[in-house]
Symmetry: none
Subunit: 248 residues, 2 copies
DNA sequence: AAGTGGTCTAGACCACCGA
DNA sequence: CGGTGGTCTAGACCACTTT
């Protein structure tokens, strides 16, 4: 039953509930979920409310809908023709390395031109900056520096510390799973092959000049607002980024 | 005014109209667009219809919305292209370089393990190998080595020679446009940052050790069969690869 | 206080799908 | 045919921002 407490929107509660049922396997991939009208009755909400929840879950790729047939639980990510970059933990484990993550620091910075443009905030606005170091067998393999608007940023930092306390390795990608109220819808990334400069060489503990993959990412919410501007640097010899996409 | 012709949904027509106004500059980046209630009156539709149009445009990144303030035209994205890797010619022209292409060679090779696996053909099958050099202002910037099954391969080589004769710069991406009977549907790519070895350094005319982007591509037809297995090497300082994709 | 977007209701008609 | 999702209306109240 949904809580009549209006501090959390009904459609959001319904989303969370369905998400949970999918994650726990109460709803299985390929299975039809109850129809919109059935959900209206079960949860005592109007159809538009149900539709908003289903539309957003479909947009996030957890459900797919077919006119005249019903709404179904989507196959897990890999089956989907979705473009996906290998996440941190699995990419290292597949090399037989034990991944871990260090928080190098978190601080308030003021937005420079690049960050301000990417996040659509005024120049010099306060941003939360979170820097992480990804390790494999205790050796540095990746460095992340991410900027967030203040409100989200503080939550991300808290989520990072919580993960760290539980000793769960993570990258900033993974932190979104811990903040159900922040729903990334889309991201843009640019990939560049660079040489390690002195600073990055020291952080990553490798000789200057070694090749690094530099990825610049902007993450957008479903309301179109950017929430994260991130620079990531990966040891070239430790990472490959795999992508499947439609041609043209 | 929206057409009462119901073959196209009203919210779709509203989306198209707003998209057009953004593209032509009638609505400028950062500018506030009319409020939801104003749009209701202007287009004679209900507020939910307006909201569906605005929500989707925001989700696509053309608009962003702020509670209590309004709906605004988003700053243009840093990468203009959608899920699309920057094609050869435009990426150089945007740097002010004049692009050209050389055919380094074409020959019949027998499939090694990697190529045979990627193209789903027996080991040692004959393949057509085409190697190209991409230049900017006569300086090498990219090297491509592509393998095709024999039939398609011969056509691709012919298409490459034809482009060369017309002095049109191209990469192997572009050659598919010349072969209407070959329809690539999907491709997988892996991106890797590497150091230029002696051989690649010589081909690309740069010092060994410089960073290169190494992209391995497999192109699939709409019938699911692979048609091309390609290794591309790009000077790290000359190329960035932009991608927009759904999150998760 | 006035205007904005965010949520929500209780209906309606349509187009598509399967039996 | 009955059930599904897709579109649409005409209201309502709320939370947030600016004046």
């Amino acid at each position: 039953m949904l809580s009549p407490n209006h501090s959390i929107p009904l459609y959001q509660q319904l989303k969370d509930d369905l998400r949970e049922k999918i994650k726990t396997g109460a709803l299985k991939p390929g299975e039809r979920i109850p129809s919109e009208r059935e959900l209206c009755e079960q949860y005592h909400v109007s159809r538009m409310t149900v539709r908003q929840a289903l539309a957003e879950l479909a947009n996030e790729g957890l459900l797919y809908r077919t006119h005249g047939k019903g709404t179904f639980v989507a196959r897990p990510r890999i089956d989907q023709e979705l473009v996906r970059v290998t996440p941190f933990e699995s990419s290292l484990r597949s090399k037989g390395l034990i991944p871990s993550t260090k928080i190098l620091g978190s601080k308030i910075v003021s937005a420079d031109y690049e960050a301000a443009t990417a996040l659509a905030v005024p120049l010099l606005s306060p941003l939360v900056n979170l820097t992480l170091l990804g390790l494999g067998n205790e050796q540095p393999v990746a460095y992340y520096s991410a900027c967030f608007p203040e409100d989200t940023g503080h939550k991300m930092v808290a989520a990072a510390r919580a993960r760290l306390a539980r000793k769960v390795p993570f990258s900033t990608y993974d932190l979104y799973d811990d903040l159900p109220e922040v729903n990334p819808a889309r991201l843009t990334q640019s990939f560049e092959a660079i040489s390690a400069g002195a600073e990055l060489a020291e952080i990553l503990d490798l000789p200057p000049g070694k090749p690094l993959m530099h990825i610049t990412t902007v993450v957008y919410l479903d309301n179109g607002r950017p929430v994260e501007y991130r620079h990531s640097y990966y040891r070239g010899d430790m990472y490959r980024f795999h992508i499947t996409r439609p041609a043209r």
